[in-house]
């Protein structure tokens, strides 16, 4: 291979080809935006319902409806990808994607905890609204930036 080492511009072209191929896969075949919004909104409904629930009031229904809608939209998301010929990995393989998923898990757990704790213990009534909105935005961002759960090769 030593005699065939590419020059700088050739290496750059090769990396550009890698990025373009990944970009095409991630952009062209992404499920519709309304589905990603439904996933984010139903996910937020779970956080909001959890933060507002007291004993057995109506907000518990928001958790149930949110969970059902989230499960249904996730299933549709996976199915649409599969129909187009892409099977999504449930647990990412690249280290960067693993890190992002780990941060997201802790972040969502923190939002879920704060959503309820801040309202019940400190009387901050807007906490569930804020946490649900934050969860919705974070989930939507993840679905836009990492639609298949994996990251692209980046410029260094």
């Amino acid at each position: 291979m030593n005699e065939n080492i590419p020059s700088g511009p050739e290496a750059k072209d090769a990396l550009d080809a890698v990025r373009n191929s990944q970009q095409n896969i991630l952009v062209e075949y992404t499920p519709p935006i309304w589905l990603r919004f439904t996933m984010s909104a139903s996910y937020a409904a779970i956080f909001f319902g959890y933060g507002m629930t007291e004993h057995e009031n109506n907000w518990a229904l928001a958790i149930i409806v949110g969970t059902l809608l989230f499960a249904l939209s996730c299933t549709l998301y996976f199915y649409l990808y599969r129909l187009q010929g892409i099977k999504i990995r449930l647990f990412p393989r690249s280290k960067t994607a693993e890190k992002i998923n780990l941060y997201a898990t802790f972040g969502f757990a923190g939002l879920g905890f704060c959503s309820r704790f801040l309202r019940t213990e400190f009387g901050i009534d807007w906490a569930p609204y804020f946490c649900a909105l934050a969860a919705c935005i974070a989930m939507f961002w993840l679905l836009v930036k990492l639609p298949t759960g994996e990251v692209m090769v980046e410029d260094k």
Partner: protein, 94 residues
């Protein structure tokens, strides 16, 4: 120091690996469309990657039609990452 992988370095094989990294499995037809090559050309490229253990192919039926799914193995994933790092090193040192 990561080294260039001669098997992955071929343009079509590099693009195949790049696409496979983004998901668990990809359909043969999808890769063919993306590369804009014939069945035989793609099969030949896939065979080269499969022989060295970088990818796996599985045939499954979907609605009565056979579909070929291709996935990157752990060996293929690390070879691809190493190859990309080597390319980035070349760019940084040039």
């Amino acid at each position: 120091m990561p080294e260039l992988d001669p098997v992955i370095h071929a343009p079509n094989r590099l693009r195949i690996c790049a696409m496979l990294v983004t998901s668990a499995e990809l359909d043969f037809k999808l890769i063919k469309t993306q590369l804009d090559v014939s069945d035989s050309v793609l099969s030949k490229q896939l065979k080269a990657l499969e022989d060295i253990g970088y990818i796996e192919t599985k045939k499954r039926n979907h609605n009565g039609r056979p579909r070929t799914w291709i996935s990157l193995t752990d060996k293929g994933q690390s070879a691809f990452e190493s190859h990309v790092s080597a390319l980035q090193n070349i760019i940084n040192t040039s």
